[in-house]
């Protein structure tokens, strides 16, 4: 996709991203990932890496969907299936991960929202343009405040 030329310079990714994110190696188990998620404060997803390569992201939603897939009728009946034990021990490299959408610090608000709208990925990961290593993430909350602030003409929302 050709990058739109945003004139809203002060609302680029570098200004609204946070530099906190949690990385798990692909060798970790789903149990470890879920345990990590329960203590996360600033993000709802984990970044999964294999050595220095970004493998994908795992969100709470995706993790629960995978964990319970095919077992909903048992859960509805009030039974915790034993199969959940097995799935919890699976490695992250073996389960389907979401795609991390990598953006550069100069990416503008318009492009971020276009990416969000088209659901290209579950996470807006800000990477260093040279090393392609993650340096931060743009939270949905921040993205929302920036867009809603413009729509409502409310500067208080644009600068959270």
């Amino acid at each position: 996709m050709k990058k739109p030329e945003s004139h809203v310079d002060h609302l680029s990714a570098s200004t609204i991203c946070i530099d906190r994110f949690t990385i798990l190696q692909a060798t970790s188990t789903l149990r470890e990932a879920l345990a990590e998620m329960t203590v996360l404060e600033n993000t709802a997803s984990l970044l999964v890496m294999q050595d220095r390569e970004i493998l994908g992201v795992l969100s709470v939603e995706a993790a629960i969907a995978y964990l319970c897939a095919g077992r909903l009728s048992e859960l509805d009946a009030g039974i915790l299936p034993a199969a959940l034990h097995q799935r919890l021990e699976e490695r992250l490299s073996d389960i389907p991960l979401g795609k991390a959408v990598c953006i550069e610090p100069a990416t503008g608000l318009a492009e971020m929202l276009q990416l969000a709208h088209k659901q290209v990925g579950e996470w807006l990961l800000v990477v260093d343009p040279q090393s392609r290593q993650p340096i931060g993430q743009v939270l949905y909350n921040t993205l929302f405040l920036s867009a809603a602030g413009l729509a409502l003409d409310d500067n208080a929302l644009i600068h959270p």
């Binding site: 329960t38 969907a65 709208h117 405040l145």
Partner: protein
């Protein structure tokens, strides 16, 4: 002493003459001349409505206007003949003149005297506020009816028909007679009448400051005279002129002692008395509402009681100068103000100009063709029937419709004087219906201490029921209220709290009802508490003995801080229930959880992990009727406060407080970028983006509900919650009671933590 007070009063009414001459005289003279030019034809036409000689309209414009201006309080109110009162006079005199064989003018003078006396008395008794009890619907229905009657009444003159020979005294009957003689239409008369009507309406709409009526009368008179249509030679096209029926002489021989005072007829007095009261009330309402409307624009502060006295004395004095009952005229008063009048001298000068006109040019009015007057009055009727305002009022509420239609029908079918009272009666009945039942709702305290108001009977079963009563609490409204209140009682209910802060007009019936309700609750072993008790209600409760019966510990008095006493009552109720539970040695929640360990993971519904236990009460709910714009603002505030979590969800509820759907932040972000141009845009500045983001703002939030939220009950176990969470794409699980009202939400993180606890890893389990 009296002379001295009168002198002071008159001095206070007007500025000293030198000051007036220097500052206000020019403006007042100019306004007075304009008012006189507008008022002269109106005065004669309105006299025709009343069925009286046209010259009496001029007399009323002179004498009544001067006296009312001297004693009244409004700077701009012009008193004189008015369309509504004239129609009422016609309605009354037409009946009584035939019944008693007396001249209509004598009856009109008696009405003027009596109604004036009543008006002055109302002013002296300080009943100025009585006008507020006549609703707009009554006035509108009455005015519209009067407009229709004027139109029907003038139909024969408008069409140039010979005067009706029927004995009927009702306008509708005369209208029927006129329809039967349509074959005798005088085309010349009809043309003159139609010309005058169209000209007056056109001038009023295009150039409202021009004296349309005067222009129309002059032009019509010239046409008739030049064509010789007033001569016998015109044959069947002949048009009668005013002077033929009632000659106007150029003199001011006004004095005339009402003959009915010399020969008292008590039966007639009785009949006239009731009608005079109607005329008095309608005249005062009209004058007061016009004066109020003008004062609103000029900023003048009015004394309605003084205005009443002024109008009353004007009518009483007028009765001795051949004046029929007068009232404020909106047309002339508005023109007076718009023409720049500064003091009440403008009204007096306008009357002087009218007198001068009568002296010098009065005889010329004898040549005004009668159909021209009819055209003038048709235009008056046209403006009186305000279709726009009528329809607006009609659509307002069913009560307005009843009052409006009732008053209109009564005006057309009954006598006009009775129509007003019927309208007032309908208004009172409508009011009683509205206030005849207190408004009941239930209150629920949220986790943050605030209160949520939901429809009565829709709250979840609870041991404490909190009912909010609003409105009037008198004998009519408390009938069966105790049994209605019982409908919110369930088997779980232990304490019922009535919030009575917004109750008004409580009396002994209300106290008896509360006493009976208290007894009903006692039989069911339910405690009654009352809160929000204001001082008035406290006194009533004390003297009725209810305070003693309820017990001081169950009464919570109102405070300046809203809901203070309600919170105290709730605290007290909870404390009482806690004490009661400890006394019964019921197992605590902790004991229940401990007792359930060991069953976890094996079977269904583990008590310690049910949704009621795991749920959080901190969630954002919103009415489903709101627009996306409002949700953006609310969610923005919530996210900024840091209380929203990472991916907040808004829960939508219907007017009954039932769950209607959930919307995640994700859907809202997607919707902000939903404009088709935005998705394809290669460039975007802040202004364009803001425009695109507002694309859907005015639409309902319900459009963002993608799927039906999967919910659990407070008793649902961990597996069920997990299944619902998976179906909700991991976004959280709403917990609903049996009425589908939200009690809380179970968050994904909490469920995950519990799940991991229930499924220990191999090392731990070994």
């Amino acid at each position: 002493m009296i002379l001295s007070r009168l002198k002071t009063k008159v001095h206070s009414l007007f500025r000293p003459v030198p000051t007036w001459l220097r500052t206000d005289a020019k403006a007042d003279l100019s306004a007075a001349l304009t008012v006189a030019i507008l008022g002269i034809p109106q005065a004669m036409a309105f006299a025709a409505i009343a069925g009286l000689p046209p010259v009496t309209g001029l007399y009323t414009s002179i004498v009544s206007a001067i006296v009312a201006a001297l004693l009244g309080s409004s700077r701009h109110l012009i008193t004189g003949p008015s369309n509504v009162t004239c129609m009422m006079i016609f309605s009354i005199t037409a009946q009584l003149a035939k019944r008693y064989g007396i001249s209509p003018l004598e009856i009109a003078l008696l009405i003027s005297l009596l109604s004036g006396f009543m008006q002055a008395l109302m002013g002296l008794l300080r009943l100025g506020s009585i006008v507020k009890y006549i609703s707009n619907s009554v006035i509108m229905g009455f005015t519209t009816g009067a407009g229709i009657l004027i139109a029907l009444n003038q139909l024969d003159a408008f069409l140039g028909l010979p005067a009706s020979k029927s004995d009927s005294s009702h306008v509708l009957q005369e209208f029927w007679q006129n329809l039967r003689s349509l074959g005798s239409i005088n085309p010349a008369g009809l043309a003159i009448a139609a010309f005058c009507m169209v000209l007056v309406i056109t001038i009023k709409k295009l150039k409202p400051r021009l004296p349309g009526a005067l222009i129309a009368l002059i032009m019509a008179s010239l046409v008739v005279l030049l064509l010789g249509l007033n001569n016998e030679a015109a044959g069947w096209l002949r048009i009668p002129v005013i002077g033929e029926r009632s000659h106007i002489a150029g003199s001011l021989a006004l004095w005339h002692f009402p003959q009915l005072l010399l020969q008292p007829d008590w039966l007639l007095y009785r009949d006239v008395g009731f009608s005079a009261f109607s005329v008095a009330v309608i005249g005062l309402i009209q004058s007061a509402s016009i004066a109020k409307s003008l004062a609103g624009q000029s900023g003048q502060r009015l004394d309605f009681n003084r205005e009443f006295v002024g109008q009353g004395v004007a009518n009483m004095v007028g009765a001795f100068f051949q004046c029929f009952p007068a009232a404020g005229s909106f047309n002339r008063s508005a023109v007076c103000m718009q023409s720049g009048a500064k003091t009440r001298m403008a009204a007096i000068l306008a009357a002087v100009f009218t007198a001068l006109f009568l002296l010098w040019l009065g005889p010329l009015t004898n040549y005004i063709p009668e159909p021209a007057f009819a055209g003038l009055l048709m235009a008056t009727a046209f403006f009186m029937i305000d279709r726009g305002r009528f329809m607006k009022m009609w659509r307002t509420s069913p009560h307005s419709r009843v009052v409006l239609a009732g008053t209109l029908a009564a005006t057309l079918l009954l006598s006009m004087e009775n129509a007003v009272f019927l309208g007032v009666l309908l208004s009172v009945l409508a009011l009683l219906k509205v206030t005849g039942k207190p408004y009941l709702t239930q209150l629920i305290q949220r986790y943050d201490g605030s209160f949520e108001e939901i429809p009565f009977g829709h709250a979840a079963d609870d041991r404490i029921v909190l009912v909010n009563l609003e409105g009037y609490f008198y004998f009519a409204s408390v009938d069966d209220l105790d049994y209605e209140l019982m409908q919110c009682i369930t088997e779980e209910t232990k304490i019922l709290i009535l919030r009575m802060k917004r109750l008004r007009a409580f009396g002994s019936s209300a106290m008896l009802m509360l006493e009976h309700f208290h007894d009903l609750l006692l039989k069911k072993n339910i405690r009654l508490m009352v809160c929000g008790i204001e001082n008035d209600l406290r006194r009533t409760m004390t003297v009725s003995g209810l305070r003693q019966k309820l017990g001081e510990e169950n009464i919570f008095y109102a405070d300046n801080r809203l809901f203070q006493s309600t919170e105290l009552a709730l605290l007290r109720a909870r404390k009482l229930l806690d004490n009661e539970k400890l006394g019964d040695h019921k197992p605590t929640l902790l004991e229940k959880i401990k007792g359930s360990i060991g069953n976890i993971g094996k079977a269904k519904n583990v008590p310690a992990l049910n949704a009621g236990r795991l749920m959080s009460k901190r969630f954002l709910r919103f009415g489903q009727e709101h627009q996306i714009r409002e949700v953006l603002w609310l969610l923005g505030e919530w996210v900024q406060s840091g209380k929203a979590g990472i991916r907040p969800v808004i829960y939508l509820q219907d007017t009954n407080g039932c769950m209607a759907g959930m919307v995640s932040l994700w859907e809202i972000i997607k919707d902000l970028g939903a404009h088709p141009d935005f998705l394809e845009a290669k460039t975007a500045d802040a202004r364009m983006m803001a425009e695109w983001f507002r694309y859907n703002q005015d639409k309902s939030i319900m459009r963002l509900v993608e799927y039906e939220a999967h919910c659990v009950s407070p008793e649902s176990g961990l597996p069920e919650q997990l299944a619902a969470l998976a179906r909700n794409k991991g976004r959280s699980v709403p917990v609903l009671d049996k009425n589908r009202r939200m009690r809380g939400t179970v968050e994904a993180k909490v469920l995950l933590a519990e799940l991991l606890r229930q499924l220990p890893d191999k090392e731990n389990s070994e």
